[in-house]
Symmetry: C2
Subunit: 491 residues, 2 copies
Amino acid sequence: MAKDFPTREQNYSEWYNQLVVKAGLAETSSVRGCMVIKPYGYAIWEKMQQQLDSMFKATGHTNAYFPLFIPKSFFSKEANHVEGFAKECAVVTHYRLKQSDDGKSVIVDPEAKLEEELIVRPTSETIIWNTYRNWIQSYRDLPILINQWANVVRWEMRTRLFLRTAEFLWQEGHTAHATPEEAIEETRKMLDVYAEFAEQWLAIPVIKGVKTANERFAGALDTYCIEALMQDGKALQAGTSHFLGQNFAKAFDVKFTTKQGVQDFVWATSWGVSTRLMGALVMAHSDDDGLVLPPKLAPIQVVIVPIYKNDEQFKLVSEYALKIKNAIASRGISVVFDDDEQAKPGWKFAEYEMKGVPLRLAIGPRDVENSTIELARRDTKEKFIVHTTDIELKIENLLSQIQENIFKKAMDFRDNHTRAANNMEEFVQILDTTGGFVSAHWDGTPETEEKIKELTKATIRCIPLNNKQESGKCVLTGNPSTQRVLFARAY
Amino acid sequence: MAKDFPTREQNYSEWYNQLVVKAGLAETSSVRGCMVIKPYGYAIWEKMQQQLDSMFKATGHTNAYFPLFIPKSFFSKEANHVEGFAKECAVVTHYRLKQSDDGKSVIVDPEAKLEEELIVRPTSETIIWNTYRNWIQSYRDLPILINQWANVVRWEMRTRLFLRTAEFLWQEGHTAHATPEEAIEETRKMLDVYAEFAEQWLAIPVIKGVKTANERFAGALDTYCIEALMQDGKALQAGTSHFLGQNFAKAFDVKFTTKQGVQDFVWATSWGVSTRLMGALVMAHSDDDGLVLPPKLAPIQVVIVPIYKNDEQFKLVSEYALKIKNAIASRGISVVFDDDEQAKPGWKFAEYEMKGVPLRLAIGPRDVENSTIELARRDTKEKFIVHTTDIELKIENLLSQIQENIFKKAMDFRDNHTRAANNMEEFVQILDTTGGFVSAHWDGTPETEEKIKELTKATIRCIPLNNKQESGKCVLTGNPSTQRVLFARAY
């Protein structure tokens, strides 16, 4: 497998673009802005889905499925919502093709025009709240705790594999509650689920916070988020959880009778993560030789490569390797024995490094003699020889260590790339040298936020939860401020 | 839960429509022809997905994801394919909305017209084979064994929940092979997977066969299918597996170098099942009181209902019920203890009957005294008292028995509704009385097939695999025939 692609140092952006393709995760398709998620990439996404899904179910949610299409009129009912999404909608206007009159091509049948255009969902609040109206009469019907796994479309002009694509896969939770307190609790609970998933599974440390008004979801009262830091010092929003207040209930007239017998509008939340997490995973951990995957999400956790010079050795090594493989597999570890005789060990080593397989085992005739095995860690590149006694337990331990180490490395990186700035000079200097999070006082106005963005391309990523309160002066205007917020340049 | 809906006898069609809604499986949405799959329905679909997915993986397939949109020009490349799907395509023509000039409404921005229209995939052969062109150079790149879980859109004019909807969920396998033999083997293998799934999981006996030319998938050389029989005597095609020959490889110029060093076009298959299976499941087994679910696909396999007259009894019964529940759950059985004090036992009984929960356990104070429990089977409506010793094993056995019994009942029904006809009089008489499959000689011409359809509304469901060869005379024309084929009126 060819490694001729830029290093992170040379060109981080190109390093990412090429790595995603070379590792077999995804590629651009012939449809503008849409990607093909290849089997190896999809296998990682499936692992993410399984884990998230079990966490959603453990917190009381069930899955359901709502239509792909949203009538244009629904879309217009919540004013901020339509404003936020109108500019990037795929619109279905016709429902039939036909042969052209000359019989030479296929054209859209002008007689098959829809009375009302349909929007391919960019998010499903409107169609779901239109449905909830019929499901909710009384407080007894609440809460509704539903999640949907789906594809959505946002007609982005500049796209990048996983990070920003016209079509992407995601989950969107949509819950309905009797009180604002309960809805806010749900919003925060799902933020915690996302943070736990990011840290324990993706091995990416995240900062939980709340967005400023400028950065809120279109139609939300509050948007909570988890923010991660990539190796180039740019931040990436890895998940959001929105407190929608009564906005969508009002737009779709969803009322209920309270315990006290009063009519009130229903309180809402929505929350989602997407295939964007695939991009975060790649950018947070990988190196110049390829992917580095946390073992919990690696489709192949261990690969065994036989080393041999002739058929006799191959047979000897293979028998031994299969025993090792079975021992490891018995612990529920995903292990592959690559006995392809067409490829040389060196080529295989490079391939599995590219694919980010956490542990590589090499076995030669001498190992068979000595009951040993050579282990190579993908994360640290360390190699060591171990005895095969209790090999499955050793492997299991190592995989845990790798998972922890990857997380720790990302955490150290973030710690080293989170710095306080007390004036604009420091602010810009940090961004232009190390990058990362800049903790700075801000006067709380959208105007200042906008101005700082214009000047530096940095946005307020979030106001961290449980943020320390301290009086200070806004880094731009010098106006009084009660707390520092986190700025960064971001994906 | 209200049971005021027609019996199967009174109005089978309305019985189905209302049952799907009353059991909480799905409902129609505000988007023409699109359904909302509700949590209970989706939970069954998830179980189907999990099982099918594991069977696909066990036969060497991996999942991937291809774009939702297909450029119109791709669609036109395979002549039969476009002819088959052109009449029912949702077409995206624009990518932006904007405020109308008077600011009062949202309109499609006429300036945001796509250069080439995009079709919302009705099936993905074209976009996938366009992608495979870049993945395949040599026989070493083959076979490609990929499956996709996705939503697809076919703009059907008359829709019914699950059976025929404008948008539906499905899986579509798309494989690429070096030889026709291998592709045909794959086609047949996946047909076997579908048949095994239908019989072992859905508990629906199916006939494996091959479609006549008239009924083939648009673009296939051969379409294999599994055909099931519903309780009203109509057949339902439950899954198809297509041998596509080199049609799509030729349309998209997908060539490979053979082992012999010659260039050849690649051989293809595709195969799919959809949320239509949900409709089959309901129609095959359910009765006038509600759903009857095979235990392997039931989201709730066992429900425990407490019977009590006062708080003291409630406490006593609840403690006992929780022990029983834990014992049952320890076997991996999905069990719910319904301790809702707002609803009466009779109401709960009716509700769980409607939802098709295979086993209901009722526990009263006397059961606690005697260490007994009352069991009620949903399939046979039998009730009996059992001692709680080894209750989890008894439940486990009963669930197996129920699974088998539901299958056997459907098999008996099919056996009783499969009859031979030797002339058109017998043919029509069977269709108009008992319905079901009619085994009859056919002269092998599309014209005769078409004529029989016009006269009787029955189509050839399939030519069964390993069909007995016997000489006879076509039931319509009297022309010579070598075998009987299976006719039926169908969904």
